[in-house]
Symmetry: C2
Subunit: 349 residues, 2 copies
DNA sequence: CAGAGCGTGTAAAACGTTCTCCACGTCGAG
DNA sequence: CTCGACGTGGAGAACGTTTTACACGCTCTG
């Protein structure tokens, strides 16, 4: 009524507008948009001209009612983990020149909230889902995957309904143990994430990492010295784990962790206890995130090729979405040790 | 035809199913879902029971055709900046117990790709948009805001179509300069992001920061010593800026940067030149991200209350979406200096 | 006791696409 | 010349919601 500028002034250009402008049917326009079969070159050009003229952009919600929405959903527990940023970059680069848009749902660590986020993505008609180390019960993921193409990153549990991309975390652990042993360490501890509760994932990254660590220690005849401290992958979690380990009767001379950020928590604990790194304690992270390379940090770590994992996941997902493949598959990446300045031979006792 | 497990087995439960199950019309169910006016208590209970029975979840795409989609879109240039993670957490916490879902579009730094991402969000019928320091031309943002409620975080340029949330970056710069001067520094340089090109944002965070820095230097009679080095906010960008500054004829005794990660790049440059921190060079970051607090880092920084900024943005946006407010508004947060171990009195010459 | 007004529920028309048919014209084979 | 096949375009029915407009029955007022 009054002169106040309202919210929605100019209406959207719809497919009907384009059809009218080009003097053809909406069906024809739709075909051109999706470059479907059954349209002549002349028609394509005419319609394309109309589209450009009017600046038409398809209405995704309307598309979602019938066909695809050209949107890929990514579930993430934790935006802070720089490793996930690498994965995200990989996904984005792979999809950059396609029609797909990537939308990220950041859910936090709570399994219930993660489940809610996954449902949100499904309800919004994502064409496909990439779940990064989901904490939701496996049954829910299987359920989702039954109706929407899904790629799971991280968990080693394979399935015939979803695809997966994993790092050979067992090899990664072996790499670290071998290296530390070669430096002369024997008393090597692992800081890993807490085990999965009742959510039915048997082979989480942390479980496989622990397994690889234990095997490697065994291989070197050091099983009696092996010990795993469970904690959250955060600065604080690492700090607590570090405190526990380093104030024990016989503290380790080297600590490896399942995440770079946790390693820096251990670093803080060591510092507070007056230990110098690497003189008094060797420290190894995991994931080789940007964090590890920082000048004041210089953390020895294990590189997981997050970017490659992300692009592999995106490629696999699109294959499924466009039903060019109907069999589940699993991609495994090989980790690589990156030595920096937080590791050295143990001080003689 | 064959026994191979197909993609979509069980159909979704729709509003029609619920209506039939409850013996009412779909309109009634719709009203209950949106708790709209005109439904009796008895009706509400009956319908709610049917919803629970069937596990009904509304189809967001279908909703988007007519009404709202209960989705908030967030545009982010860079997942790696930990400061943005704080903002995201604030948004999420604010919206946790509402019906809204937050979806993030990670666009990277390229303005064209950012514009594409914004369009994607609009096409997907987001109810509202939160743009974190967008690099797209201001005109485009105004255009978007004309049809979709929008909150801009970072840029100080106000508008009567979008709301904004900013940090008083000029005060922040003043805080740092005052502190460094009080320690005895005079030769203080600033590392800031490159100026905006032709995109018409006049008062970007970096512009306001530079302004505040220059004023503060002037206030202390140090304007002749002021110098601003422009670079990307990344480890590498900081490194290059640091190299330039520290190899100059008369290198500064203190460097402040517009982002923590850039400060760590300067740190690396200093290290490479054999300078010790804070003895030979005092270093101050900005944003007080988790990075700054890390044990090996201990960077003096300026805290911006990202979490609070995020929740403020979310609150403002929801007010707009639910049209409880029709006037643009701007929220400004006050920064706070956090002193750690990268700053000290300059070494006498 | 008529009629206005209110509270509650429903029918049905959007919303902007996709996609299945079907019609039409042309061309080649017989 | 006829018939079938093929290539191209269009009509119209979905898809699952929201929302408008209205019908119905009740209560209250005068």
């Amino acid at each position: 009524m009054d002169g106040a500028s309202a919210a929605k002034p100019n209406k959207r250009v719809t497919i009907t507008d384009v059809a009218r402008h080009a003097g053809v049917s909406t069906a024809a326009v739709s075909k051109v948009m999706r470059n479907a079969y059954g349209v002549s070159e002349a028609m394509r050009e005419k319609v394309q001209a109309a589209i450009d003229d009017l600046g038409y952009r398809p209405h995704a919600a309307a598309r979602g009612m019938r066909g695809r929405t050209y949107t890929i959903g990514v579930l993430l527990d934790n935006v802070r983990n720089a490793f996930f940023a690498d994965i995200l970059d990989g996904i984005r680069d792979e999809l950059r020149h396609t029609d797909y848009t990537v939308l990220i749902g950041a859910a936090g660590f709570d399994p219930e909230e993660q489940a809610r986020t996954i449902r949100s993505l499904v309800d919004r008609q994502m064409d496909g889902l990439i779940l990064i180390a989901p904490g939701t019960p496996r049954a829910e993921v299987l359920d989702t995957a039954a109706s929407t193409p899904t790629v799971v990153i991280g968990h080693h549990d394979a399935s015939d309904t979803y695809d997966s991309v994993v790092d050979a975390d067992d090899l990664g652990a072996g790499l670290v143990v071998d290296y530390l042993v070669s430096l002369g360490h024997r008393d090597i501890a692992l800081v890993s994430a807490p085990g999965t509760r009742a959510n039915k994932w048997k082979r989480t990254p942390e479980a496989v990492l622990s397994e690889g660590y234990l095997h490697a220690m065994q291989r070197h005849g050091l099983d009696r010295l092996a010990r795993v401290q469970h904690t959250a992958y955060s600065d604080d979690g690492g700090f607590k784990a570090g405190m526990t380990l380093l104030t024990a009767d016989r503290p380790p001379t080297a600590v490896m962790t399942g995440a770079d950020v946790a390693a820096l928590g251990v670093y803080r604990a060591a510092h507070e206890l007056g230990l110098r790194i690497p003189r008094d304690l060797s420290l190894v992270g995991y994931n080789n995130t940007a964090l590890a390379a920082l000048a004041p940090v210089q953390l020895t770590s294990v590189d997981q090729a997050g970017h490659t994992m992300g692009s592999a996941a995106a490629r696999m997902l699109v294959e499924r979405v466009e039903s060019r493949r109907d069999r589940a598959m699993q991609t495994t990446m090989t980790p690589r040790l990156v030595v920096r300045s937080t590791t050295s031979a143990p001080q003689g006792r």
